[in-house]
Homo-oligomer: 190 residues x 4
Amino acid sequence: MTEQARRAQIVGAAIETVAELGYAATSFKQIATRAGLSSTGLISYHFKGKQELVDEVYAEVLRRYADFVMGFLDRSDTVAGELRAFLVANLRFMRAHRSHTVALMQVRPHVSVRGRDEDHRRMADLLREGQRSGEFREFDADTMAIFVLALRNGVLARAAEDEALDLDLCERELLTLVERATARAHQPPG
Amino acid sequence: MTEQARRAQIVGAAIETVAELGYAATSFKQIATRAGLSSTGLISYHFKGKQELVDEVYAEVLRRYADFVMGFLDRSDTVAGELRAFLVANLRFMRAHRSHTVALMQVRPHVSVRGRDEDHRRMADLLREGQRSGEFREFDADTMAIFVLALRNGVLARAAEDEALDLDLCERELLTLVERATARAHQPPG
Amino acid sequence: MTEQARRAQIVGAAIETVAELGYAATSFKQIATRAGLSSTGLISYHFKGKQELVDEVYAEVLRRYADFVMGFLDRSDTVAGELRAFLVANLRFMRAHRSHTVALMQVRPHVSVRGRDEDHRRMADLLREGQRSGEFREFDADTMAIFVLALRNGVLARAAEDEALDLDLCERELLTLVERATARAHQPPG
Amino acid sequence: MTEQARRAQIVGAAIETVAELGYAATSFKQIATRAGLSSTGLISYHFKGKQELVDEVYAEVLRRYADFVMGFLDRSDTVAGELRAFLVANLRFMRAHRSHTVALMQVRPHVSVRGRDEDHRRMADLLREGQRSGEFREFDADTMAIFVLALRNGVLARAAEDEALDLDLCERELLTLVERATARAHQPPG
DNA sequence: GATGAATGAGGCTTCATTCAT
DNA sequence: TATGAATGAAGCCTCATTCAT
């Protein structure tokens, strides 16, 4: 088995484990079991330490997430449309890759990698672009980025806890909210 | 030293420790050291187990938080005002009791006590009241409650990570956002 | 409260505790609770150490046991009769003072006091007396003493485990057995 | 070193330790020291918990015991002969495997495995068979089984305490006693 | 004498990591 | 590479005992 394949397999098992048991209960033994490995030693062999594995898990989930979201963004030509697409994509990702999403939320606080702020920077840039284009009203883009991501995170966290949450409803309400929050003038429906 | 005082001291040390090192790195030994205790046995003597201490930490922070927020809510007579006061109070609490807030966010996922959803229920009720009174537009109150609390949590989380965050700016922007999100008709400024 | 009364109270609580929870689960805290004491310190104050308490428990149960058995022995004028009375007394003691008996069996292995062999010596002496008087056949009295006490202990142990054991049946069968084991010639019934 | 070998080694060390120090003083540290292990963690590595080790110790001793006793039972064709063989085997086992016997008596009260009563059931069955075959007199077989096993246990316990006990003498006397206790009619010697 | 908090040793267990094979 | 036993640190918890009040 190739090095890369092994790492991927281990990372995959780690994601499953974290999603299922939560970060605290995720030990090398659990991961090894789920990966069908006969020894935790193999994990240490392929990863310098637990931290590297955790970071890799985070990166892998983020990669999948980015791929998924990307597919939604391409189709819109306005900034507001892109923002809507981003939000929709996030909620759809939750449905399509529940365990990845759950793992993401569990693992995030334990990630060492700097670059967690990249999300924020990109969002702030997008918002600024919308302001330049005249679609968005005046607001502090960095602050609004915090808000938008907070909404995303909060909904995902809630969905992670409550499997019965109506994500369609959430999506509609969220789009309405964000539009009201950002639009230059409020558009009365119809 | 009286039992109650000791418990309070230990809870205090635990809060400090969690705020400083994060939940994962918070061991009885760390807490004992910070509290000036001679052994971890003393913690077990005063608390039935780690879970009881964790729950107590959560309860204590929540108590302080509730007291603090209460002081802000009394003065408003409209529901919208109460909602604003709630948000303001939360951000001010972060400033006044930073370590408590950080500890709260760290500890929340590990609390056993049921009643974590109470926050959500109360917020949803408040929002419904605003709808009945005509102050708020039509929206799904439960979903909007998720949004409002997500915003609150997201801002606090951000503030916990980034000590330099401008909370005044956040406050202003947040109030604006929430008003736009909930108001029956958008009020153009001025 | 007088010193002696306190000690007696603690010993009594210890007996209850051991009978109820078994030796391994008997801690000072359990004993203190059962005695209505508010501190385990009081136990350490009245007893030099756990060993002294254990020994005292053993001695106390033995004292009661001896008193009880004594009442049965007086009435017989033959050695065989005394032996029978001893056995009957033991089984009756089990019924009358179940928890004391159970405590006795639990505590015996942990007693430091030498004098556990006294039982054996007395039994051997009794048996020798029966041999001298011509009631008993020839056998090694020390070995037979082991047997008789083993039978006694085994029945008590069984009764301790199985509350439904028919002690009347046991008594009849035991007397028959011991008579056959010791009698000079087997007496056909009737 | 193979898993099975390590487990066997640990069980062996545990048997030694229990035989030497008694159950109460048998800690993982003691066992590890005696087994030449570098840490108690290794014991937990090979056994799920203390209970599993205790049960394994019990099972191992019982296995050896059963093997040993088996060799004695085959040769007899009468039930009385089988009963005698059983008793002889038990006493010989004590001599041949002293520490195992002592460990057995120490560990028995702490074993979780159900099947401790199997001994009793088998003995009662054997006795009933002897009654059906006409070798044994009328008695309650369950009660007599208690007696026979009590005698066995009592002698072993005594032998465990007193290394100087004359087991040959015990054997002869025990056989005589049991024969008198069970035989249809007392056979006068010679 | 009595209280109850404090002590500190010791117990079992989990875990990431190392290492010989 | 892979295995899986071994390591050793660290964690939580229990307990008898001590001590100031």
